[in-house]
């Protein structure tokens, strides 16, 4: 997703772009996650600023790309079961409002107007009208295709699939000259590392340290249903237990319907390396959370579950921008559980850097060399 967005905005700026992937389009984490475009779960700070910009860009993209990407500006609903949870949510929402997020408090008696099948007896919640959704694999594939179609004049977009990058070529002064792949060398003055969870490996090929690590998540998928869940719904009971509220909010399971029918329930977060083994305990928790929110889901069958590995950096912020250690090398990876949402803003920033335009926001918090170390 992130690489597709970089290619799209770069080609639109008139650059000559080659996208290289060792696998197919959307074969990485993009094909193993969900497509929530959320502002509701982010506390004020650089990630929220990036998300707000992306929210606007996604809306524009949804007009430019075919409806098949399943973009839906459906809004999010965060619910609390008790008064303590509600108070914590209110406090969180207030701070988000000041950062530019639209929020609406929903009293307990009005929850069912928004979500008729929600459990009874919840204290209330907050509605986030800016939250939206896409189908990530389709979005990435169509964005890449659109990148090729709109590349005009001198610009061109080439797609090289099934080709693994095995080295970064450097000049006499250590500057980037291109990449080496399994089928030969490709020369270019700029290389963008959009290798997601494998971003650390690509960085290492350029002799720089960037500690991207995998963070596993499972998603449960139900049999197709008529629309019973209208928005993205998640619980925030435990906001009360956490001083800042932000960390816990990020771990809650989101329940949402999809245009194709299945309800998606995701996702868990664990640091277990690249282990795909099914965790029964994770599925139990996801199912229990979902049925607590929507009791009618108890009789609905999960037909599938899948795991993906979020690209995670220790401070939970992506690496976006030029690497001062290697001239010509840029990074656009490490978006953890928000890479679909944050992709357009990331792509716009990368294109802006490559063409020397003014950037839409301060990218200092995303500096790729902030973790130190030559490699």
């Amino acid at each position: 997703m992130v690489g597709a967005a970089c290619a799209y905005y770069a080609a639109r700026s008139g650059l000559h772009v080659t996208v290289i992937d060792r696998g197919p389009v959307a074969g990485g984490t993009t094909g193993a996650g969900e497509g929530n475009l959320l502002v509701s779960d982010k506390e004020p700070g650089p990630e929220l600023d990036l998300a707000l910009l992306s929210t606007r860009l996604w809306r524009t993209l949804s007009g430019a790309l075919p409806p098949r990407i399943e973009y839906e500006a459906k809004g999010g609903l965060v619910v609390a079961s008790g008064e303590a949870g509600m108070a914590a949510l209110r406090d969180f929402a207030e701070r988000q409002e000041r950062a530019g997020v639209k929020t609406e408090e929903v009293t307990g008696d009005r929850l069912h107007d928004l979500e008729p099948h929600l459990a009874q007896g919840l204290a209330g919640g907050f509605h986030y009208p800016q939250d939206a959704q896409v189908q990530p694999a389709l979005a990435a594939a169509h964005l890449l295709r659109a990148a090729g179609e709109q590349a005009s004049g001198r610009a061109r977009l080439r797609l090289r699939l099934g080709e693994k990058v095995t080295g970064v070529l450097k000049g006499a002064n250590g500057e980037v000259r291109g990449v080496r792949t399994v089928s030969g060398d490709l020369h270019a003055p700029y290389v963008v590392n959009a290798a997601g969870t494998w971003g650390a490996e690509v960085a290492r090929l350029a002799d720089v340290h960037l500690p991207v690590l995998p963070r596993r998540g499972f998603v449960l998928v139900t049999e197709p249903l008529p629309r019973v869940v209208r928005r993205k719904v998640y619980a925030a009971d435990y906001v009360a237990d956490v001083a800042s509220g932000s960390a816990a909010l990020q771990t809650s399971a989101v329940v949402e319907g999809t245009p194709a029918g299945p309800v998606l329930i995701g996702a868990s977060r664990e640091r277990v390396g690249f282990d795909r083994t099914l965790s029964v305990e994770v599925l139990r928790r996801l199912a229990a959370q979902a049925t607590r929110l929507f009791p009618m889901l108890a009789d609905v069958r999960a037909i599938r579950t899948y795991a993906g590995f979020r690209p995670y950096l220790p401070d939970h912020l992506p690496a976006i921008g030029p690497d001062p250690r290697v001239p010509g090398l840029l990074h656009a990876c490490g978006h953890e559980g928000a890479g679909i949402g944050l992709a357009p803003a990331t792509g716009l920033i990368v294109a802006g850097i490559l063409t020397g335009e003014e950037l839409p926001l301060d990218i200092d918090p995303f500096r790729p060399d902030r973790f130190g170390g030559a490699r």
């Binding site: 959307a26 169509h142 029964v280």
Partner: protein, 496 residues
């Protein structure tokens, strides 16, 4: 044999760990369970079905009042014998148990947790957990389907499915039934249908059967198999059934249901030969292209697989039927398609090997009997592999399709949509085709279309490409209420 536990007795049946849990009560699982039990192990035998016997020894529900179900089986006495041994044994038969996953217990490779759903569909389903020191996976196979124009019309049924329908319900899919596809099962199905009173105007086989002749050694070593083929052949002749080799059904005609099929000659690569199409009137088509081992419970635990000569994936097993994961054995079709007799032989080896491990008596596996079982197994496997090689789908089969042909029936995804995802949107394998088109995302989770999608994803000119060892972590659908009702202490592993 104790019955399935009633609710009050549930604690007994699900409490203490068993020495061996067997998943699947077909030929392989049944033999494995009684063998291990007779050697002194405590054994639980789980199966989705209410009856033992699996795919091969399907029996009509008692209510149907069939007098001689054995009339449809040529190997009935072996089954009767197994049933007798089961009844005399202490094996706990857990019928109606749908196993959705097997997880590692806290003791690593010496403790396994088998998770199943049981109870009435829709209401009263509940989670069940069976712990065991060792596990035998004997979940059999499912039928491989390759699509062609018209295959979704009512009246088109799976060849194995038709056989199963006949055995368990004694119903015929139609009165004039063309049998088509590839594989030795076609002959068996045709003779059963004919024996049950259907007219079979033709058996249409895409390969040439020549493959068998190339390995005369394997043939000669399998007198039983040969006899079986001859029985089928004789039965077919008696009923006036014509066998057309190197031919395929390339189109089904009809509006509301099957009225006729077009049968075309195909070349060595299964490419239809222009101008050879002939119409055959019929009211049903039974079609199948071999069987695919059902291995998801094993592969999600990391068991290694091997590519079979007919382009599917089966579990990689050692000489005593153990998978690459110690403590997990497999027998029957999960290790490669080979028939009921091979499944029984493998079940006996696996049951003995598990007993040897649990009892700490490796000598059990070195007995004369086991040596003889292993020799028989090797002979039958070699023959099965020869047969499989003869029926591997040729890459030209994709030319049967036009762009409007549905490939994924659950999600109604056409061949055209899949080709577009590959040519224009960068899909290159079954997984990304699925993500971009939804092919394989529906109720059956690609069990029906998986083989076809994988071939189309590999693009024009590619030979038959089997799906990568599937990761289908839920072997059967599980209600969310059942998942959520699991006891937190019982679920495996720590979560950080």
């Amino acid at each position: 044999m104790p019955d399935s536990p009633s609710d009050e007795r549930a604690d007994d049946a699900y409490g203490a760990p068993y020495d061996l849990a067997v998943i699947g009560a077909g030929c392989a699982g049944l033999t494995g369970a009684v063998t291990a039990s007779e050697l002194g192990l405590s054994v639980a035998l789980l199966d989705t079905s209410g009856q033992v016997g699996g795919q091969f020894y399907r029996t009509p529900a008692p209510a149907l009042g069939a007098v001689r179900p054995e009339a449809l089986h040529h190997d009935w006495s072996a089954f009767a014998d197994l049933r007798r041994r089961l009844e005399a044994s202490a094996v706990v038969h857990l019928a109606g148990h749908h196993v959705w996953t097997v997880a590692r217990g806290s003791e690593g490779d010496t403790e396994w947790v088998v998770h199943a759903v049981t109870g009435v569909d829709g209401c009263g389903e509940r989670p069940v957990r069976v712990r065991a020191r060792t596990v035998l996976l004997a979940t059999g196979a499912s039928e491989r389907q390759l699509p062609f124009p018209g295959w979704t019309l009512p009246g088109v049924v799976g060849a194995g499915g038709a056989q199963a329908m006949l055995k368990s319900g004694l119903v015929l899919p139609g009165r004039r039934v063309v049998v088509a596809g590839s594989g030795p099962l076609l002959l068996a199905v045709a003779s059963s249908l004919a024996a049950a009173g259907a007219r079979v105007p033709a058996v249409v086989e895409a390969s040439g059967y020549l493959g068998y002749a190339r390995r005369p050694g394997a043939l000669a070593a399998n007198p039983h198999k040969l006899a079986e083929a001859l029985v089928h052949g004789a039965a077919l002749l008696r009923h006036g059934v014509r066998l057309r080799t190197r031919s395929a059904v390339t189109r089904v005609h009809g509006t509301a249901r099957v009225e006729a099929v077009t049968v075309s000659r195909v070349d060595r690569d299964w490419r239809p030969v222009q101008g050879t199409g002939r119409r055959i009137a019929c009211d049903a088509l039974a079609v199948g292209h071999g069987l695919v081992p059902q291995t998801e419970l094993a592969t999600s635990l990391g068991c290694a697989t091997r590519r079979t000569p007919d382009g599917t994936y089966a579990l990689e097993l050692d000489g005593l039927q153990e998978t690459s994961v110690p403590g997990l054995w497999a027998a029957g079709e999960t290790g490669g398609i080979g028939g009921a007799q091979l499944a029984r032989t493998e079940g006996a080896i696996a049951g003995t090997a598990a007993a040897a491990r649990v009892l700490g008596q490796p000598a059990l596996t070195r007995s004369r009997r086991v040596r003889e079982l292993r020799r028989r197994r090797d002979r039958m496997r070699a023959f099965a592999d020869t047969m499989a090689a003869a029926h591997v789908p040729g890459p030209g089969w994709v030319q049967w399709l036009n762009d409007a042909t549905d490939v994924c029936r659950c999600e109604e995804v056409t061949a055209g949509a899949i080709r577009e995802a590959v040519a224009d949107y960068g899909a290159r394998d079954a997984r990304t085709v699925k993500l971009l088109t939804r092919a394989g995302m529906g109720w059956c989770q690609g069990r029906m279309c998986g083989a076809a999608v994988a071939c189309l994803a590999a693009g024009p000119g590619a030979a038959s490409v089997p799906p990568s060892p599937e990761r289908r972590p839920l072997a059967v659908p599980v209600p969310l209420g059942v998942l959520g009702a699991l006891d937190p202490d019982e679920a495996d592993g720590p979560v950080s």
